[in-house]
Symmetry: C2
């Protein structure tokens, strides 16, 4: 039950691993000081909900480490993941009272939270924050639209390959930006969560992963540890020839 102190928590913005990518990326020292007054860190264990759709949002904030999912549900229980929240991604919408989606931590996760009201008033007078948030929102919109193509037009095999290539790419960008040689990473999602993201069933996800493994597109050790020997091959399987466009 001790869900505080799950992980070492940064104290100072200077130490913060997402300092240069988060909503505060453009802020000057004095602006960071102001933010510091309304911020606090919160830890979540893998599987723990951050907030449910319809709940009152008391805070907004940034993912510092770990991964969370944004999910939408229908009354009859069908669900669709609508976003994957990675370090530096922003949670919550300024100006909105209640959460629109379920947010769940899928790994242990740390968030840098800002009390919502003060954050909103600060945003109104600090163009650096609003500017950065606009930029991030435009990126998210692009990602959502890219995902609409995946959901609407790709086959199950292509969907899996698309998801793997996103995770691989984003991992490369976090570690070191070399996209040559084999890429190695751990899947941060269960088969069920992948199915939720891809608009498939977990059985289909499992089968297609097995198929990609059999065809040598990926190498699996255990259920989660993936090696991609040839990234271009994976991209072809995803239907994104040549450059492709899915963004991290």
């Amino acid at each position: 039950m001790l869900n505080e102190t799950v992980k070492a928590i940064p104290r100072e913005c200077g130490d913060c691993p997402i300092r240069h990518r988060a909503v505060c990326a453009r802020c000057e020292a004095d602006e960071l000081e102001q933010l510091d007054k309304i911020k606090y860190y919160r830890s979540f264990q893998a599987g723990q909900p951050v907030i449910w759709a319809g709940d009152k949002m008391e805070f907004v904030g940034s993912v510092v480490s770990g991964i969370a999912t944004l999910t939408q549900a229908m009354e009859d229980g069908r669900t669709q993941m609508v976003g994957l929240l990675l370090p530096s991604d922003f949670v919550g919408r300024p100006g909105r009272e209640t959460a629109a989606y379920d947010v769940v931590a899928t790994t242990d996760m740390v968030m840098c939270c800002f009390r919502r009201k003060p954050f909103e008033t600060m945003m109104a007078v600090t163009p650096h924050i609003a500017q950065r948030l606009l930029e991030m929102t435009l990126d998210e919109l692009d990602a959502a639209r890219e995902w609409m193509l995946v959901l609407g037009r790709k086959t199950a095999r292509e969907k899996i390959a698309s998801l793997l290539s996103i995770i691989a790419r984003r991992n490369a960008s976090l570690t070191f930006g070399k996209i040559t040689g084999p890429m190695v990473f751990d899947l941060p999602l269960t088969r069920e969560a992948m199915a939720d993201y891809l608009g498939l069933t977990l059985e289909t996800v499992s089968r297609q992963i097995s198929a990609l493994r059999k065809d040598g597109v990926i190498v699996l050790e255990g259920k989660r540890h993936v090696t991609v020997p040839d990234f271009n091959r994976l991209m072809e399987e995803a239907g994104d020839d040549s450059d492709g466009g899915l963004l991290a």
Copy 2:
């Protein structure tokens, strides 16, 4: 070949039908004057492309009247519509050199265009514009995520009902906001364009529309003119019970 003067074009922002909803909604008189210097109107005929993905964006702007679509294509020809652009919607992304999607007018359309570079510099010094653009982008992001649920988890019948309910709702909000009594409107899209939006084939769209007609959910006169006798019934068919959330 005369694609100018397709429609009466507003001259003054004061007359503009989208004045209070577009990216300029929050602007003061002096800011409008500045915008006026970099703006020009452009008309497009139904079916005409506005811009192709990859083209250099010389302008951004607002849809004044008519409807356009935002479409993404795969190399092998599969396409997915990723947005429907209605009056007041914004086209283009400040800071981006080239278009990310194909934009095509599906009805005769008028746009209020701003030369991109001057618009970007103006945005940097005019918080009213950036604020409004952030708001609009957040709304679009919500709409895109709502659509991800439609694409990923709904049946063909539910997809058609979802599309009809969006069009119906948005029409109601443009004319007069009464959602009681029968709603009547014309479909602004061909069966093929609907299929593109919904991730279906045009045959399936046609069949499901016929089915909804047979079941009395909608009444059709000709191929495009739709009457919805009971909007709540339509919402149920869309899988969005009670309030639902799809936004205009």
